[in-house]
Amino acid sequence: MDVFSNLMLGLATAATLENLSYCLIGTVLGTAVGVLPGLGPSTTIALLLPFTFALGPTPSLIMLAGIYYGAQYGGSTTAILLNLPGEPSSAVTALDGYQMAKQGRAGHALAVAALGSFFAGTVATFVIVLFAPVMTSLALEFGPAEYFSLIVLGLIFSVALAHGSVVRALAMVVLGLVLSLVGNDVTSGEARFTFGRLELAEGINFVTLSVGFFGVAEILRNLETEGAEGTATKIIGRLLPSWPDLRRCVGPVLRGTALGSVLGILPGGGALLSSFASYSLEKKLSKTPGEFGKGAIEGVAGPEAANNAGAQTSFIPMLTLGLPANAVMAMMVGAMVIQGIVPGPNVATEQPALFWGLIVSMWIGNLMLLVLNLPLVGLWARMMTIPYTWLFPAILTFSAIGIYSLNGNVFDLYALCLSGVLGYVLLRLGCEPAPFLLGFVLGPMLEEHMRRALLLSFGHPSVFVTRPISAGLLILALLALLAVALPAIARKRSKVFAE
């Protein structure tokens, strides 16, 4: 396949008026939710899932993707001006960005963050262009045994690289897998765990679960800390950084981009891990590590480049293998399934316009974000002052109507309340919803590949360890699990996330 002709196809798809407008809507919405306190990309994408039914697959995926990487830009704005990361991957940016803001250099921090993100986004798009076809052709060689092991590896990696207790995250994955079993069995047609409810015949609705866990449960968590909002720095200052400042940022941005591009591909990696890793790397490399935490511009440039690169390249496993690396990607997989597309290596060959259009739209979207963010930063800064108390009734209204419009069925609303409360209870007990959603999305695939692999091997479970690629993947998964279980590494890991 020729990269150039693929890119031309992508450009032709992404540059239609319809797709351009959905790209713009996505990036604007993404920036907005990145800026708004208590509303992140996963919540927003969950809320919008029901409304993507009416759109075609390409515009809806372009819009949802725009929300994800747009939020990386918006999140840094609140991190810098308010010391409140709009979403987790900007937490590191707040460390030095807010200090810069207090010194009256907020403009510089914002500009460096936006420029670094744009550069990283551009590079990461090309990484996708180069890597995606390789991964796709690799994946097409995989048999069911390899696919089964790959899914296991993906799930375990996403747990190992996430923060918090590994056992809890694993339990959440398996809880997701178990709940994905509800509904009629595809092979035998037998009804499983439906208890005679017709509404459950096609399984628990993915959208309802997403909105419950990421919409309703999040509202409840945010109500815990109500009234504790920070105060925004009003003075943004000059935007354009000086030459020496910019030169100091070149290294961190380049390293952050490389780091983010690699870590983004790993399951469970994505934006969050990339920004943390880049910050500790820059601190280690710096000649003046003491400046970090007191307004070092490198501490803004590196992580901002890294989280944007990571956000982009985390699309690679989703697009080529159908394996989501984080909750947002799980929702993208869900959105594809809603549109009747089977996620996996076939997307690139059967839906080339969608595949390449989405990739090219990401670069266009990054360009839009640069234009949106730098001149309009004052406008975004004003949005930050919208109190959460005004927002959550709107979030809940959107959730309820969206869920109701799925089937015009009130059963889904009861399910929404139930999953919201369950999600909140689990959150309070230190169980994050992301691994749960990954398990839920991958459950049917896991069962299907397992059944097929066992059928092909005449019922011998050894097939998973005797086929070399499958065995290798499982060993990798085991190693990852052992690594996080070992106390020495576990301590280092919690230190990385504590910083």
Partner: protein, 150 residues
């Protein structure tokens, strides 16, 4: 080794859900063999795994993050779950507009920070926006007002 209450509760939830699915699967589903996996094969496998992990959660060494215990926002919990239920009960019988009114007003009451005036303003503004967006822009096919019972 100490086990915190949170660990016990979290582990308990996993074990309970696992046990429920395991029992249901064993009672209602055909397990089959590895050659021909029945509908109950994965459920039994996964629910056993879930029970094991639930026990693991309880036995795990307590992490350092086991500190904060922010008060449960009971008021929020009550109104946030009540609002969609109210919407579910009224949307068919009364129509979209009254159901939305109930939904928005109930959910605004969830916050401790809002005065009555603010609740009224938020409700009015949000109701207008939602009706505009959902009924006119997105064109959802639900009548604004209905008078049928049920």
């Amino acid at each position: 080794m100490r086990t915190t209450g949170r660990q016990l509760k979290a582990g308990g939830i996993f074990v309970a859900i696992g046990a429920f699915f395991l029992a249901t699967a064993l009672l209602t589903l055909d397990i089959g063999s590895t050659l021909r996996m029945g509908a109950g094969f994965m459920p039994v496998l996964l629910s056993c795994l879930l029970i094991a992990l639930g026990i693991g959660v309880v036995l795990e060494r307590a992490g350092e993050d086991e500190v904060e215990a922010r008060p449960i926002p009971w008021r929020g919990l009550a109104f946030i779950t009540l609002a969609p239920l109210l919407f579910a009960l009224t949307v068919k019988g009364l129509g979209l507009a009254p159901a939305l009114l109930g939904l928005i007003a109930t959910s605004s009451l969830a916050s401790r920070m809002m005065s009555l005036t603010q609740v009224l303003i938020v409700t009015a503004v949000l109701l207008a926006i939602s009706l505009l967006v959902f009924s006119y822009v997105l064109g959802l096919p639900y009548p604004l007002f209905a008078l049928s019972a049920g």
